[in-house]
Every structure is written in structure tokens, then in C-alpha cells.
Amino acid sequence: MYGFLIGVGVLLLLSVVWMVYRIQTLVSVVKGSDRKIAGTSNKVNAFLFLVFMVVTGALMFWYSIKEFDNYQLPVASEHGVITDELFWISMAVTGVVFLVTHVLLFVFPYVYQYKEGRKAAFYPDNHKLEIIWTAVPGVVLAGLVISGWLAWSDITAPAPEKAHVVEIMGYQFAWEVRYPGKDNVLGDYDYRLINASNSHGVDFTDKNATDDFPSPKVVIPKGEPVLFKIRARDVLHSVFAPHMRLKMDAVPGMPTRFWFIPTKTTAEMRAELKDPEFEYEIACTEICGRGHFSMRKVIEVVEPAEYQKWLAEQKTFIQQNPAIAAGQKVEVKEIAGIETSVSNK
């Protein structure tokens, strides 16, 4: 019944619109206004540009200021402070250009709207002007690029040697986390070794793997460099830790990495935001299938001392499931004192 009523309503509305349309067409034919070069509509349109500018401009400023704290995510990494600064510098520069060009774009239609008898200026070029507005954007952009490039070079530089290594592996549709254990060197892996009890495909014949341990969440110390070693098991994924200003694709067959220094513990952030539930999160930002939107992992940033304590409490893969190392050639007890940095993909 509702459907029928809505249908009738729409039909009535459409026929009213149709009548209005026909009437205005006929009126304009009678008045001959369609033969004029520009009539009232021209003035209305010119004025509407002004209205549009004022109303949407006000809306933009109002919303940008009101919502600032909502869209501006708190930052919790050292490089994030720098990239945020670059972001806001770019915002200032482009904001000025945005406003100036738009004011001109919407004021000109009003000021220079058609007037009978007036002739437009024949003004085909001005080399000086054109050189200026080629050179100025060039210089400004060069400034932005160079500052961006300096930041980018620092961010992508090799990680410090003492960085805490965490391996993050994406698969449909979750992340798995592996720590290198006491030696801070991850054991080898091979995707052909993956099975129900070895979801990472860790190669337990590699001595470095014997102290590796899994973790349900990413735990990292505040103020110390952390190196994410990122890989994928099936399709592309992308590690995105918004508060860390960190993003790097996880590529099957090609390990990637991203290092950073977290600056605020989870507890500190909770206090700052007055949100006792707050967690740092990892999301996936490369389309990977049905569950793309659900690949959540929690990062917990703790004080360094607490981190060491946590590390000591963790159980290695082998301790958790001795069966997976059974039959391997490696002598598990021999790990202490072995120094090796090779064979670590």
C-alpha cells in the first residue's frame, strides 16, 4: 500500500514538474527572451556563484574548525610529528592558493557578467605574467618537495642496528606477529612449510628460529627504534598504523620493512585522550578480499622496562608446541651464544 502511495506521489510530483517546465518554456517563447544573448538567468547565475562561494566557504571554515580534534588523529611516532608538520605546511600553502583562486573564480563571474554594449578586453597574452605564474609555483613546489624528500629519506633510511624487530605477516584476513626472541634475529621461513601448526612457515632447522615466539598483539617499547618486517602469505595487504603514521604494503614473495620510534605508551595516550579503552591499531589498506575491512591488530606501546619484562615472559613456538620441532636437526639447547645475522630474510 505504501509503495502504491509513494508511486502516486512521485507521479504527481513529476507531472507538476512537467507542467512548470512546459509553462516556463512557453512563457519564454512568448516573451522572446530566448532570442536575447543573455537575460535574467545570466544575472541569477552570476549571483549564485557569489552565494555559493560565501555559503560553502563558511561551511568549510565552520566544519574544519569545529571538527579539528576529530579528524586530526593524535600522533605517536617521531617521524609522524615531522610528516604531520609537512602536512600542515602544505595545507597552509595550498589553502592560500585554494582561497585566492576560488575567490577570483567566483567573483569574476559576478563582476564581469554580460552587459549589453560592453566589449570584453582583447587581452590574449602577457609574457611577464605568465613567467611569474610559472616560476612562483615552481619555486614553492620545489620548497615543499625538498622538505618532503628530506623527511622521506630519513624515514626510509636503514633501521638502526639496535632496533627491536617484529615480523608482521598478513593473510586473509588477519595479521600474525612473530618476535625474533633473545637473539633479535628472525628465523628463516618458507611458505611451503606452512601448515596447521606452523602458520608462519617458520623453518625450525634454522637455529635463529628456535627462540622465535608468536604474539597475539604487537608489543613495542616507547622511545626505542622498532623495525617492522612485513610480509604476506597469500595476496597483497598493507600494514597501516594510523597513529604511528606508518604504512607499508605486505607483498607475497617480497618482504618489506618500516622502522619508527613510538613516542607515547598506550597508557599515556589513554590519559591524554581521556579514553580508557584506547588502543593503537593496525588496519589493512590494500584490498585483499572479503574480509579486507576486518584485519585488526592491536599495538601496545609500553615503557622499555616493561617491554623487557614482557619479552622474558613469552614462550617460544617450540615451547608452546614441541611437536613442531620434533625431527628437526637443530640442537635446541645449543642456541645460547650463537651469533649469526645471515639467513634472515
Binding site: T83, T101, A121, N126, I155, T156, R233, V235, L236, V251
Partner: protein, 633 residues
């Protein structure tokens, strides 16, 4: 031709010489006139109507996923008649189908609407008319170009109805996702059809492109030097060049993907464990695909955008009654953009895992391309300045385009900066950016073009008032849809997400997303005003005059309904550039291109006096030749 009295709106062609070209009016039947036609004007209309069909489909798909994003709790049971099994028992949209929706929306809009619908329509329609040619260099290739596109569309359309769904790996179809049926059902038959469809599309695009380039180079009428080409033609020409150079690379990428999918090669696949099974592929690189894809994908942005910029240059100059400011600078920027468009592709891949040094290089190259773009904006503004502006619907859409080009272009400065891109990559900031600068700007260019050249296409006028309403609803609507996405993007919301409720950082903004969805649906609905106006005016619109916008370019010298061959008599000769608007001294505020300088002594500029002498000599020679030829008969 020498003694002609040329009134501006008079296109009477002078037929007092023996060589009378008859309009080749052999009686066309329906099939040769409307289906397998080789007339560039009809082919253009075919592209346009097909493009409009796809725009409705693409827009409809977007309203479906906007319903999901804006109203995640809504019961979508009412869509079951349309979507069937893609609505689950709880009345929710299936997440896999959601991905298929965004994938198809992107593919359709980028390729079928904005590439074929825009470039296909206006390159075909305007190139011969504006350079003074009877048709394209090869009418047959042109016809093939359309029918390859049509076939490509049919196949893509069929893929929408597959049980496993159409391709669902995003419009970029990155492998391994697009290569593995086990990873997403759309990568089965849906992806196969996507690849076949795109292959046909590439063939269509190349056939068209080669034709456009050949036509512009070889078939310009007498006097139509490159420096007198309207900016539309420059834009179409360079677009075709970009297409010819970049589409084959997409074909290569697709071909290798076909091999990986069907013949067990490992170009893109390596070390994959999926669905409980380790695949044998090793040594491939998904990043290789990304390089190949974006080698087309980025120039594609300009394939879509340049024709729109060309169209607006023409419309803004005409309706400002002013020469386009800095014609040469406009051409040089177009050339600059053309060249640079090929060496910026990897800015889509800053965080793909490629060498960060490469990222630095591409950041520098990317921000260089902002300079010619900025020049174009300033030149548009300078053209409006001190003009005598007439707001036809075409002009309104052109101004709208400039606004989107600025708004979307400026956010490109953020995204092109690799350090800032780390955070913004694949968030809604990117969605806002490219929908404004590429999607909406090009769409507005297309609309501007339709309103402006409708009288030439169909001999009738579109209703201006409906055009104004359409413009204002769409202009405001587009900003209401895409501007808020910047906030959502800065807040870190990732794109291609079915829902954000799993994440704390993305749990806000349900209100803003709802607002965006409502705006999107209204904006989509407003397009039906245009569709009504288009089809109604085609049959019942006011009869157009020969040159309704009092424009300078050659297409307005043809009859109201030009036949196949465009000009019934001789093709007009061109004596001046296309932007002699409001020339000081001239009686009217426009002097069309086919008016000799020698006939307008009152408005000639000092440097044009030289040309007048040359012109007169040539005319004398020609007259003699004509007499000589005539006496032979």
C-alpha cells in the same frame, strides 16, 4: 571565393565555380546510418549515448555502496529483486559484492564513461569539424573503434550477472588477488571477462587514437596550421598520443596476468599459500604488475582530463567573449603534461615496497607536473578577467570544472609528497582527490561539451533552464559528496572498506558518511534532469540557429544538419586563429576563423598586416588557377 561577402552567421557557401561538391547523399538505410556508420558525427553520438548508458550504470553502482557506507544498519531487503543473492538473509549487502561494486564502478567510470564517453564522443565529433575535414582519416577504423568498444561493454555487462560476481579486486586489479580464484570469487570468470573486455577496449582505444592523430596531422584544411588549431583539437590530439603510447602497456600487463591465471606462469606470483595449499609459483613480483598498470594508469588520468580541459578552454573563451589567455602557454602546458604524464606513474606506489630511492625520484617528477596544471588554472582565470561573461549551461559546467581542477589538484600536492603520502595513501583523502580532479572535473568537461555542441549534434537547443538546475544541483552535490571525504581521509579511514566499525580510530563520522551518501544519491538523481533534457530536446527542443554561441570555430560554418562530408560545398579556408573575440575595431565581438584578414582591415593588429599581403597573393593565385581549370572544361 574572393568576392564573397561574408556575414558572420551566414554559411552560404559560394558555389559559382564548377567544382561543386555534392553531399554524398546516397540513401542510407537504418543500418548504415545509425549502426554501421562511418560518419564521424554519428559515431560520436554512438559513443555519447553508450557513455551515458554506462554513466547511469556506474552511478547506480555507487549509490548501492554508498547505501552500505552511509546506512550500515539499513535493511536492504528492498534491493533483493535487483541484487538477488547478494543481499543475505539479514538484509545486508554481501561484503564480496561490495568489493565487486567498487571495482565495477571504477572500471566503468574511468574507461567506459570518461575515456570512451568523453574522448570518444568529442574527438570524433569535433576533430573533423574543427580542423575542416570531411571525415576521419579512416571511417572504417573509426567504426571498428566503436564496435570494439560496444563489444567490450557487452562483455563487461555480462560479467555483472555472473553467479560468482564480476571482478572484485579494485579497478586496478592487482595480482595476486586478481589472479587467484581461491582468494576472491570475482577473480574467477568475472576477472576473465574483465580481461577480455579490457583487451577489446584497448583495441578500440588504439583504433580511435591512431585515427585522431592521423586526421589531425593530415587532414587539416587550408590555412589550419598547428598554431591555429583550437585548444580542443590540441587536447584531443595529445590525448590520442598518450593513449597510443600507454594503452599497449596495459595490454602487456593484462596479457601477463592472463598467462599467470591460465597457463601457470609466475610473472606476478611468488611464495603464495592460499586456501590451505602452497602454490608452485616462485620468482614473480606483484610490484611488476603495479609498475605496468600505472604506466597506463597515470597517463589515463590525463587521457580523461585533457579532453575536458580542451573543451573548457574553447567554451570559456567563447562565452567570455575573449581570446583564451596565453594560447601558447596553454599549448605548452598541454605538451608538458603529456610528456610528464609518462614519468610520474610510481607515485601511486610510494608504499608498495619498491625502492624508496625510486620514491624520491618520482616525488620530484610528480610535483613538476603541478606547474603546467597551475599555469592552466591561472590562464582560465585571466580569460574570465574583464570578459563579458555569458552563462550558458556549457559555461557554467566549464567554470565548475576549473573549480574542481583547483580543489582536486591542490590535494595532489599532498599525495605527490611521499612523506605525507605514507599516511594518506589508500585513505578517503585519495578518494576525494581523484574524484574531484579526475572524475568530477572530466565529467563536468563532458557535460559542458554536450550542452555546448548539442545544437551542432542534433540541430536543436537543450533547455537552458533545466541546464542551470542540473548544473547547480550537480555542482553543489559533487562538493557535498567529495569535500567531506577529505576530513574522513585525514582521520585515516581506509578506502574499499565495507564497514569501519571494527576499528576504534575509524569509528567516528557515521554522521558525515550518512551525509555523503544522501548527497551522492541526490546528485545521482539530478542527472536524470539532464537525461530528460537530452532526449526531449533531441526531438522537441527549440531549433538551433547556425551559430548559437556566436563562436569562431569551423564547425559552426556547416549547415544545421551537416551530412556525411560536413560541408556541402568546398571546405572553408582558415585565415586566423580561433580566438578573435572582442577584437578592437571589429563590429561584432567575434570573427570566425574562415573570415580573411583582408576583409577585416578595421580590426587587424599591426603584425597581421604582413599576413594580409601574403593572403591576398595566395587568393589571387587561386583565383587564376580556378579560372584556368574552369576554361579547361
Amino acid at each position: 571565393m574572393a568576392t564573397a561577402t561574408v556575414a558572420h552567421q551566414d554559411t552560404a557557401v559560394h558555389e559559382h565555380h564548377e567544382h561543386e561538391h555534392h553531399d554524398h547523399e546516397h540513401h542510407d538505410n537504418f543500418i548504415t546510418k545509425y549502426l554501421f556508420t562511418t560518419d564521424h558525427k554519428m559515431i560520436a553520438k554512438q559513443f555519447l549515448v553508450t557513455g551515458m548508458f554506462w554513466a547511469v550504470i556506474g552511478g547506480l553502482l555507487s549509490t548501492l555502496f554508498r547505501l552500505q557506507l552511509g546506512f550500515p544498519d539499513m535493511n536492504l531487503e528492498f534491493l533483493r529483486p535487483l541484487l538477488g543473492g547478494w543481499i543475505d538473509e539479514a538484509g545486508k549487502l554481501d561484503p564480496t559484492f561490495y568489493l565487486a561494486l567498487v571495482t565495477m564502478h571504477g572500471t566503468i567510470m574511468v574507461f567506459f564513461v570518461l575515456t570512451a564517453g568523453l574522448s570518444g564522443t568529442f574527438s570524433n565529433f569535433l576533430i573533423p569539424l574543427q580542423i575542416g575535414a570531411r571525415d576521419m582519416a579512416s571511417g572504417f577504423m573509426n567504426m571498428l573503434s566503436y564496435w570494439f568498444f560496444f563489444l567490450s561493454g557487452v562483455i563487461m555487462f555480462i560479467s555483472l550477472f555472473l553467479k560468482t560476481g564480476p571482478a572484485g579486486g579494485g579497478w586496478v586489479v592487482y595480482p595476486p588477488l586478481s589472479a587467484l580464484e581461491q582468494a576472491i570469487p570475482g577473480s574467477g570468470m568475472g576477472m576473465t571477462l574483465w580481461l577480455i573486455s579490457m583487451t577489446l577496449f584497448i583495441a578500440s582505444s588504439l583504433l580511435g587514437g591512431i585515427n585522431y592523430v592521423t586526421t589531425v596531422i593530415n587532414l587539416r584544411t587550408k590555412g589550419m596550421s598547428f598554431s591555429r588549431l583550437p585548444l580542443t583539437i590540441w587536447a584531443f590530439f595529445l590525448t590520442a598520443v598518450i593513449g597510443i603510447l600507454s594503452f599497449p602497456v596495459l595490454f602487456a600487463a593484462a596479457l601477463l596476468l592472463v598467462f599467470d591465471r591460465s597457463f601457470g606462469t609466475s610473472f606476478y606470483l611468488s611464495d603464495i599459500y592460499v586456501a590451505g595449499e602452497a602454490l608452485p609459483n616462485t620468482g614473480g613480483s606483484p610490484v611488476l604488475y603495479q609498475h605496468l598498470f600505472w604506466f597506463l594508469g597515470h597517463p589515463e588520468v590525463y587521457i580523461v582530463l585533457l579532453p575536458a580541459l580542451g573543451i573548457t578552454s574553447e567554451i570559456i573563451a567563447t562565452n567570455s567573449r575573449k581570446p583564451i589567455f596565453g594560447y601558447k602557454a596553454m599549448v605548452v602546458s598541454l605538451l608538458g603534461i603529456t610528456v610528464l604524464s609518462f614519468i610520474v606513474w610510481a607515485h601511486h606506489m610510494f608504499v608498495s615496497g619498491m625502492n624508496p630511492f625510486l620514491g624520491s625520484i618520482f616525488m620530484f617528477l610528480t610535483l613538476i607536473i603541478a606547474v603546467p596544471s597551475a599555469v592552466k588554472v591561472f590562464n582560465y582565470l585571466a580569460t574570465l578577467w574583464r570578459g563579458n561573461l555569458i552563462f550558458t549551461p556549457g559555461m557554467l559546467f566549464s567554470i565548475g570544472l576549473v573549480s574542481f581542477f583547483i580543489s582536486g589538484g591542490l590535494t595532489g600536492v599532498f599525495l605527490g609528497n611521499s612523506a605525507i603520502d605514507i599516511q594518506l595513501h589508500d585513505t578517503y583523502f585519495v578518494v576525494a582527490h581523484f574524484h574531484l580532479v579526475m572524475g568530477s572535473a572530466s565529467f563536468f568537461g563532458m557535460m559542458a561539451g554536450v550542452y555546448h555542441w548539442f545544437p551542432k549534434m542534433f540541430g536543436r537547443m537543450m533547455d537552458a533552464k533545466l541546464g542551470y538546475i542540473h548544473f547547480w544541483l550537480t555542482f553543489v552535490g559533487v562538493y557535498m559528496v567529495f569535500f567531506p571525504m577529505h576530513y574522513i581521509g585525514i582521520a585515516g579511514f581506509p578506502r574499499r572498506y565495507y564497514s569501519w566499525t571494527n576499528f576504534e580510530f575509524a569509528s567516528a563520522y557515521t554522521d558525515l558518511n550518512m551525509f555523503v551518501s544522501v548527497a551522492a544519491i541526490i546528485t545521482f538523481a539530478a542527472q536524470f534532469i539532464f537525461i530528460f533534457n537530452f532526449f526531449y530536446s533531441m526531438y522537441r527542443g527549440r531549433k538551433a540557429t547556425l551559430n548559437p554561441w556566436r563562436s569562431n570555430t569551423l564547425e559552426w560554418t556547416t549547415p544545421l544538419h551537416p551530412g556525411h562530408g560536413n560541408w556541402p560545398g568546398e571546405i572553408p579556408t582558415v585565415y586566423r586563429w580561433p580566438y578573435d573575440y572582442s577584437k578592437p575595431g571589429a563590429a561584432e565581438d567575434f570573427i570566425p576563423q574562415h573570415i580573411p584578414l583582408s576583409q577585416t582591415p578595421e580590426s587587424n593588429l599591426p603584425h597581421e598586416e604582413e599576413q594580409v599581403k601574403i593572403e591576398l597573393e595566395i587568393m589571387k593565385e587561386e583565383a587564376e588557377l580556378l579560372v584556368a581549370n574552369g576554361s579547361k572544361h
